[in-house]
Symmetry: D2
Subunit: 349 residues, 4 copies
């Protein structure tokens, strides 16, 4: 931690800061320049991060030197984490997220009914998807919009999972539901709006399911990694980071998908990184280009909304691909994956 | 709702949309221009908002005409809402938020211990504050930071409330805690990071306590009002909207306090509007100017962090005023309130 | 400057950086921690700012300690700059921007014709404005919008200036026009879109007129001060910083007026600070609240769009006040100015 | 154009708006709903865009139906524009930007001296680049940074262009220099900070050189297309749109590269689209992933900063690739181009 003093800081003020730092068991290193005095503090930066150093008289600002994340950090664990999703049926092979294969997850925004879910499941599986998505609990901006089927939606997911053999990912929105959703889902999803719902993160940290943690709409990558840290610190090391677009000044897309987050996360962390271009852009016609871009940039998994009849979808129809469009997309995705020396075969042995 | 077709939309596509709209029981009004065909739909716009119109073939985009909020809207209830906070002790007068008096709320970011809380309570009361703030449950970016005292913090708040006669406002972060916090708090606070934690909003809608709803860091005013709508729709009409800064490209302040939100909310809604400049800017030295600005712009209440020893604060020290600074601020705030024909006397009879 | 090395930086890499720093004539100060080695560099930080330190192998990141602005900095010149605008007619008193009086500038967005300009000039003068605004060169998003009257507009401004005795502020958009506009304007305005048009800044730095430098729509306060630095470094120390709103995620206002910029600029710089709420919010009904807020927060001047017939304005009608609305606003502004111990009397002797 | 009235608009106010619209020669189409009256206006929307409709009493807001761009619009010209860059030497083949081949442009941020420029030119040509970049006029945030060699830089570019046979792209910052730069450059570049320098756009519209128009740091795609419209409307139809990152809340990257802009521009416009990931992210280690992503998403050209000795670069060293890194990148780029059915062979016959 570097403490920079105001130009007019008095010797007494500087002395006082040094004393406080020593009280906390740390060793300050003072440099007096012509323009500013600065104090570097060697030792456990976590101690200092929790201290209001900028409130000390004479201090102008404080600059952390180390990254605030530990368990999520690539420095702490240089080998990349590979998350194992067991096969649905005994004879199947597990999936690995974070290996050489790129995982494709597809399905409707919301679970609407059994027939539709089964139809989508069969179509996306035939096209090459590895997992099925669908929300039973839906975060909606308006209280007057469809809020999801809840437990009934989970039951439908379980049935379609069994029929198709596709593992499922579904969102959990409330601490009270983490245990319930964990019984049904292969991957628990925490949505963008809950990325800093810290009680939910802690509860998900007590689940035995891997967690897909979506990036918040206005959160930095550092904050996103800190939210992963919450889950990991509570005991669950299996976190997948999912980029889904951030809010910017652009209006022709729903959000701005930040594909540079893919290489940044791969540099900063050992955790796998997923991309959701459907929410990222909000328009089905843009999704294929962004899936190709995401895989080319290094994504370990891609999640795409697919609906057999988008104009009747109860949620997010305009960004949903039709099954035939998804089929074409899988072909393109496969070519791009091979161009970057990966494949669409994430099944292990 | 206005449906704009693509230039190359076929007659069949347009016909299909018209049929769907009629199926929903609404009356479409078609205008064929040289450049575009547009369809205006008269009737209950809420029906259309839940339909994926942009997924219909040939549709370019869709423009809502009406505001999505109802209960929170100034159109539905032209007279401004005045929220009554009963006096702590029998002999006292209730406070009103949203009347001619401007309400001052002050206190530390987090409840740290009884002595400190009592000291702050006494000092801010003497200076002129009407209510006391302090967090028992603290949302912190890092799992390694102080997370609040929880129930013990609520007990401290209750004791200091009784000692000082100041009603208290404190945050609730989890659906499981809404009932508990409602037993201790005069106002329930929902923090910026939970503004779209919809299950929490619904639960707060079942509480009997007025709710201070902070604006999310990347949320529009429309979304903020929709979150108020969630609380109101669940049965609790007593919502106070609190502006606390949004994320922008500026880095010298922690957030950018959006004071234009004050007149916008007053135009769009009947609900009272509060401003929290401490979180809004993150630096104690900027707080007095922003409190003056907030009151001049029309805020009904202002919430300020005050700590007797900011350099030892367990949370947000750099943005906390010392009690003596708060005293000066109250004087300035009073002069500005009178300049805009208000006062610092929100107590009713 | 603090140079932070990667955890895995080799001794050779660190040595190499130290050699480079010494080559530049500076003294590096090395601290080896358990987690990171850092090197603090004492001396002229401007030298280091121009070096690509982050391109040196082993370097993780670099943190400047000093502010990049010098001439604009409050550290270099603690007393606040007061800019003198000479009286139009011999008998008049000069205006001072940056003194105890708050300067009110009013007028239409664009100069449209002589009669209208004269009418506005007389009305705003009668209401209490101290200066007149109006654009002869107009930056418009569309090439098909009214682009301003150019030189003819300047002639109209000169005539109305003479008639009313109000000094004028008008925009210059091109290096080729700086001399021309300087002949007509009392204050040269550089618009938000040109805040980083560095050749224009340099040219304005050679003018003898004070410059109103608007903040760019996505520029930080630090960049804004650096643009002032360009003007000052080219020889013109008379710069007024004008906050006019930044782009954010909010959509109900045209921009988000950043009133916290007012106290930040007053802390960081000795230059006067102006606020333009008309462009800042884009809606006439919000302007009065924001003018009050700006003055309460410490603005030295306020610029407001006024048009006698907004619905016929050639530019920015929706954000223009009618003269009668401006009159009421001046009254309110006066009360707020006095509440913060200022006045609307910026004329000196 | 759709005009939405306030709920409380009077019949007189509505009548007045209708009269104004008819005065402008347009035909209003009135729909009276229970909640709102709306007026649709058929005919030339450009007329209405220039009218301050929101300033008319009773009007709540106004929604344009048509896109504001014409010449840049894919609707006006469905076939994609292919820009021809003639060969430097007689025997060479011209390049085409916007055809099936993806164009690679490489070079240092700034022209520093002849030897370095020649070295880079030879290295990037050998690696497979099709054009050379290098700035002679440099927009720098600080007046104390290297500002470019100006005309001397242009002379160096000309010499290296002749030696290597690579056409060059270089920036023009000032209307006064457009003619000069046009004599030296094969493509004129307008930088992000000048995207709305409208006098410069008009002047570039009078040049015979194709123009690379970089997207502004806080500009929407619609505004970017409107700036292209300025150039095209002034007579120069040869515009290449270059995405280079927008400002967002993210801090680990210099900007957020908006790769969704690639498919959006391809849908909205016939103009070719280029991507500059070097400025887009600011860190050399992220560039290769983003070049791959850009090509996979459909970019027609990619511009990359390459410097033989980044740690001695006078500008943007940290984001510059070394020549050997660029070689590897070209290989990867070629594989991805082929995966999306393109190539790195943009030379025509």
């Amino acid at each position: 931690m570097i403490i920079v003093f105001r130009k007019d800081a008095s010797d007494q003020q500087i002395e006082h800061v040094i004393e406080r730092v020593e009280e906390w068991g740390l060793s300050p290193n003072v440099s007096r320049g012509t323009e500013r005095t600065i104090v570097g503090v060697i030792g456990d930066e976590a101690i200092l991060r929790s201290k209001p150093l900028e409130a000390l008289p004479g201090v102008e600002h404080v600059m952390p030197v180390l990254k605030p994340y530990k368990r999520a950090s690539a420095e702490m664990r240089p080998e990349r984490t590979r998350i194992r999703v067991p096969a649905v049926h005994d004879e199947g092979a597990p999936l690995f997220i974070g290996g050489t294969g790129v995982v494709l997850i597809a399905g409707p925004c919301a679970v609407e009914n059994y027939d539709l879910m089964l139809e989508v499941g069969r179509r996306v599986k035939a096209a090459g998807a590895h997992m099925l998505r669908g929300g039973a609990f839906k975060p909606r901006t308006s209280p007057y919009s469809f809020q999801g089927l809840g437990r009934e939606g989970l039951e439908i997911l379980r049935a379609v999972r069994g029929e198709t053999g596709l593992p499922v990912v579904t969102e959990v929105m409330d601490t009270k539901d983490v245990e319930l959703v964990s019984e049904y889902a292969d991957l628990l999803q925490i949505g963008a709006r809950n990325m800093q719902n810290f009680t939910l993160l802690k509860e998900a940290g007590r689940s035995r399911r891997p967690v897909v943690l979506k990036r918040g709409m206005a959160n930095t990558i550092e904050e996103w990694l800190m939210s992963a840290e919450y889950i990991m610190n509570a005991g669950n090391e299996q976190v997948i980071l999912c980029e889904r677009g951030i809010r910017t000044i652009e209006t022709l897309t729903r959000n701005t998908l930040d594909l540079s987050a893919v290489p940044v996360v791969r540099r900063e962390s050992h955790l796998p990184v997923m991309v959701d271009p459907s929410h990222g852009c909000g328009h089905a016609d843009l999704v294929p280009a962004l899936v190709r871009g995401a895989i080319a940039a290094g994504a370990d998994a891609v999640m795409v909304e697919v609906h057999p009849d988008p104009e009747r979808a109860l949620s997010d129809g305009p960004q949903s691909l039709r099954p035939a469009e998804f089929e074409r997309l899988v072909e393109e995705a496969g070519r791009v994956a091979r161009a970057v020396e990966r494949s669409l075969e994430p099944e292990g042995k």
